[in-house]
Amino acid sequence: MKRILPLLAGMALLLSACGRADLSTLDPQGPVAQKQFDLMKISISIMTLVVVVVFAICVYVLVRFRRRKGDKTIPKQVEGNHKLEIIWTVIPLVLLLILGVPTIQSVFGMATDYSKDKNAIQVKVTSHLYWWEFEYPQYGVTTAQELVVPTGKKISFELVSADVKHAFWIPSIGGKMDTNPGSSNRMYLEFPKEGVYRGKCAELCGPSHALMDFKAKSVSPESFDRWIAAMKAPASMPADPKLAETFRSKCLACHAVGDQGTNGAPNLTGIGGRQTIAGILYNSDVVADPQPEDKTTVENLKEWITDPQKVKPGNQMPSAADNQLTPEEIDGIAKYLAGYKLDY
């Protein structure tokens, strides 16, 4: 055991070095993911022990007892061995106990309901065919695709689906929970550090299941209050009245900005400050680590508005052609939305 422990510690170190900090379950950024990672480490350690023992016996047996050429001897026909059989029944039971107890503790710990907790931030998550809606009932605010939460508080989620089943997953912050149509689930998460974390849909939901990413952004409590205030402020519409009218009639029939429009499609308030368009097109002028293939917010918006099916097959957004938008209008709307940033 003494020899194996440093080995395991080394392995844990290796594992924790893996992957992006904003995505990997092996580099937890919050207490929920941390607890899950601790359980993983316990189980991986126990299981490594089992694997090592079995492999060692296996290799020894296969080498030691291989048949030599021309060997005609008949080995002793052993019926069994009660002592051995009891050993390999009891030891696994003990190992399972070691894993079982913290499992039970965490199962109940993670199911703690903070929905009535006044200090917790309530967020209602509604999954749609390929986008995420986040509603803050305490503040009367709704946003989409980019969840904004304050650090240091319990975030109590109510999860439901508007159509098919999806699953809400922010790997580096905590495990997933399904969003079922017709009945809601609860979970809580905590974000101790400021940052932007990657979220995924984990349940097959159709062609664009793979592209149903979202972001979870944790900000300081003061900044969060400013964000809420900015979200509640009246909408800033396009300066050009003609463009404003086009935007109102074509886009706000489904979308919303500030106090305008409806929430049938993703809320666009402050979209210019979000890291991505449609959850997957990274905005090179917003993200901290732009990649060579990333485009600017304006370019991404134009790409998306022109032909949404090309970006996210099977989504509900009509193309620019269906919406009868001229190239000038697309350009104007993209520029207006890219400039629509909230100060918080």
């Binding site: 893996c18 992957g19 992006r20 995505l23 990997s24 379950t25 092996l26 899950q36 990672f37 359980l39 993983m40 189980s43 299981m47 089992v50 694997v51 079995v54 492999f55 047996v61 296969l62 007892f65 291989r66 008949i74 080995p75 002793k76 026909q77 052993v78 019926e79 069994g80 061995n81 059989e85 390999w88 399972l96 079982g100 199962v107 109940f108 993670m110 999860l159 098919v164 089943k165 699953a167 790997p171 905590g174 495990g175 929970m177 399904d178 149509p181 017709g182 009945s183 990657r198 995924k200 849909c201 984990a202 097959l204 159709g206 062609p207 299941h209 793979a210 592209l211 097959p313 099977g314």
Partner: protein
């Protein structure tokens, strides 16, 4: 039913039954050995189809944002890959081994219900055919092999895709259920004199328990499929949330069937490994009674753990805690089996034939799949693993690394018994090493992909997420597995061209009854039903210096079941009815059902007395 010869002696030669040759022989056969070969052929073809789908999936995932296949095509591929591999490849290949081996191992002349056996094959075959015809009609099932509603429901899946899944599996499921009933009855009733339950070979035990699992689990799938079929075809509301139904109900139904299904798949592999390891170590199975007990316990617990597939569905902490613990418990009997195999090898004289390579390759591989199973059992950690590539890696370790390695071991081991020809050992070993290496290359890295945050069933992935290298390795491994499979096919073709010269006891160290009769066995298997004097009946006789089993009956004419074309026609009737239902053409549906009913009527009103073979007369003619 193949009754005792003495009873039938008076009727000998009184009935003349038409015997067919060539293709008609195969279409009308009720001989378990031929049905086993049919299962193997059909199952292996579906295995190749499912494998091709897997290769296409891995090509698509080879690099980020690949556009080799479209998003909707990818969902069709992953759905058909899973459904085909489980229902149309793995299960039939198991049925192939069951049919080829079980009656021989228990000293019987056929299964309890030979007609039903043929019917089971043909319903499976036409169900599978119906499912795969979807590729040609353009609407392919695309909601995953689990077919979760509402994605698979009529509201969000309006085309006929999922109908093919529902009706194809319903028809194929009839075959599986018939097989389960048949083998349960066979093993309970038709063991040779002296073969008590605790003298049955381990493979027979495994198949017995598997049959029990099938009999209890498959009706659940049948009910679930009927409900989803009514939702889709007749606007019922079992699972339609808008109409007051409940989608989570389908998840429960599916997994109440689906989890025992996992054990239906793996228990036979356990049986195969037990036979192969004992034979090639020249040792009796270590801890036989605890092995039997472990199988029974695994099967029992297998019904108690279905909700561990639903830890993130939102069942609440009490359910999650209970199902966590129940799931972990399965590790104990499974561990018992692993150690018993290792200690069967311990002190033995191990010969590394291809069959044994697959068997000893199975042991560590299955341990890896087993330990990730225990990791998954811890519900809070599963919130991270669930529906990620970690799960994909886990179940491929148990299904491919467990079941498929087991099937390969069984096929190489019993090939001489089934076909009278030895497979080439060199090619066999090449198959093993390419398949085995390819397998670990493909699936080992997938554990880490999941832990790094890659969800399963994704058509593509964005770059810069740390997924690229491991996905590429995984795809390369998949190609290697494909090469291994091709080498196996080549091996089979080469063996086909060779003379039928396999010895009765083809591996020289055979322990069970099938090795006491010629390879391949005559139509009636045993000229005289043998007397079983202990566990490993044939080994015991050999050790006592005998060269043949002691017969338990005098020589005489042997009663055989008649061949029949009815099972084929009945299945075609269901096949036609399936299309009728799907495309809402009720005349076609009624016509198909009528064909099946007419066949059932004919089968009921015409007595089938079978016929008799006089083994001595046949020998004189030969």
């Amino acid at each position: 039913m193949a009754t005792h010869a003495a009873h039938a002696h008076a009727h000998a030669h009184t009935h003349t039954v038409k015997r067919y040759k060539g293709l008609m022989d195969w279409l009308t056969t009720v001989d378990h050995k031929k049905i086993g070969i049919l299962y193997l052929l059909a199952g292996f073809i579906f295995f190749l189809v499912g494998g091709l789908e897997a290769i296409l999936i891995r090509i698509q995932l080879m690099k980020p944002m690949n556009d080799f296949v479209a998003a909707d095509t990818f969902n069709e591929l992953l759905t058909m890959h899973g459904t085909t591999m489980i229902f149309l490849a793995a299960m039939p290949m198991l049925f192939a081994l069951m049919n080829a081996v079980i009656p021989l191992q228990i000293g019987a002349r056929d299964v309890a219900f030979p007609f039903l056996n043929a019917l089971g094959f043909w319903t499976f075959f036409f169900g599978g055919l119906l499912l795969n015809i979807s590729w040609f009609t353009g609407t392919v099932p695309d909601a995953g092999w689990t077919s979760y509603v509402p994605l698979a429901g009529p509201t969000y899946n309006g085309t006929h895709g999922v109908d093919y899944y529902v009706i194809g599996l319903q028809i194929a499921g009839i075959g599986t259920l018939l097989g389960g009933i048949n083998f349960m009855a066979t093993i309970i009733n038709m063991r040779a004199p002296g073969m008590s339950f605790m003298r049955m070979p381990m493979f027979t035990w495994a198949i017995f328990i598997t049959s029990v699992l099938i009999v209890f689990a498959f009706p659940v799938l049948t009910v679930g499929l009927v409900a989803i079929m009514f939702d889709r075809l007749f606007q019922a509301n079992f699972f339609e949330v808008g109409g007051g139904g409940n989608g989570v109900l389908w998840e429960h139904i599916f997994w109440v069937f689906g989890h025992p299904e996992v054990y239906i798949l793996i228990l036979p592999a356990f049986g195969v490994i037990s036979e192969v390891v004992a034979t090639f170590a020249r040792k009796r199975l270590f801890g036989y009674s605890s092995m039997v007990f472990a199988i029974v316990l695994i099967a029992f617990l297998g019904f108690m753990v279905w909700a561990h597939h639903m830890f993130t569905t939102g069942l609440g902490p009490v359910a999650n805690a209970l199902f966590s613990i129940a799931t972990m418990l399965i590790a104990v009997p499974t561990g018992v089996k692993i150690f018993n195999w290792l200690f069967t090898l311990w002190g033995g004289s191990i010969k590394f034939t291809t069959a044994n390579l697959f068997a000893v390759g199975f042991i560590p591989t299955f341990v890896l799949g087993g330990v990730t199973g225990v990791m998954l059992a811890s519900a809070p950690a599963d919130y991270q693993y669930h529906d990620s590539y970690f799960v994909v890696a886990h179940f491929h370790y148990v299904i491919v690394g467990g079941l498929i390695l087991g099937i390969f071991a069984g096929l190489h081991y019993w090939w001489p018994k089934m076909f009278g020809r030895m497979l080439n050992e060199g090619l066999g070993k090449l198959t093993f090493w390419t398949f085995f290496t390819g397998f670990h290359l493909t699936f080992f890295v997938q554990h880490f992909l999941g832990l790094l945050g890659m969800p399963r069933r994704v058509w593509t992935y964005l770059p810069n997420q740390g997924f690229e290298t491991m996905n590429l390795i995984s795809s390369i491994g998949a190609f290697l597995m494909g090469i291994g499979t091709i080498v196996f096919v080549v091996n089979v073709i080469i063996a086909w061209a060779k003379p039928r010269n396999a010895a009765a006891d083809a591996w020289e160290d055979g322990r069970t009854l099938e090795w006491s009769i010629p390879s391949p066995p005559p139509e009636y298997n045993f000229k005289q039903i043998p007397l079983v004097r202990g566990l490993d009946a044939w080994w015991k006789e050999k050790m006592d210096g005998k060269t043949a089993m002691t017969p338990a009956e005098p020589l005489g004419p042997i009663h055989m079941p008649s061949p029949s074309i009815l099972p084929l026609i009945m299945s075609i009737g269901l096949f036609i009815a399936g299309f009728g239902f799907m495309y809402q053409n009720h005349w076609v549906a009624a016509g198909g059902i009528l064909v099946t009913f007419v066949c059932m009527f004919l089968r009921s009103v015409y007595d089938d007395h079978g016929f008799h073979i006089d083994p001595e007369e046949e020998e004189v003619q030969a």
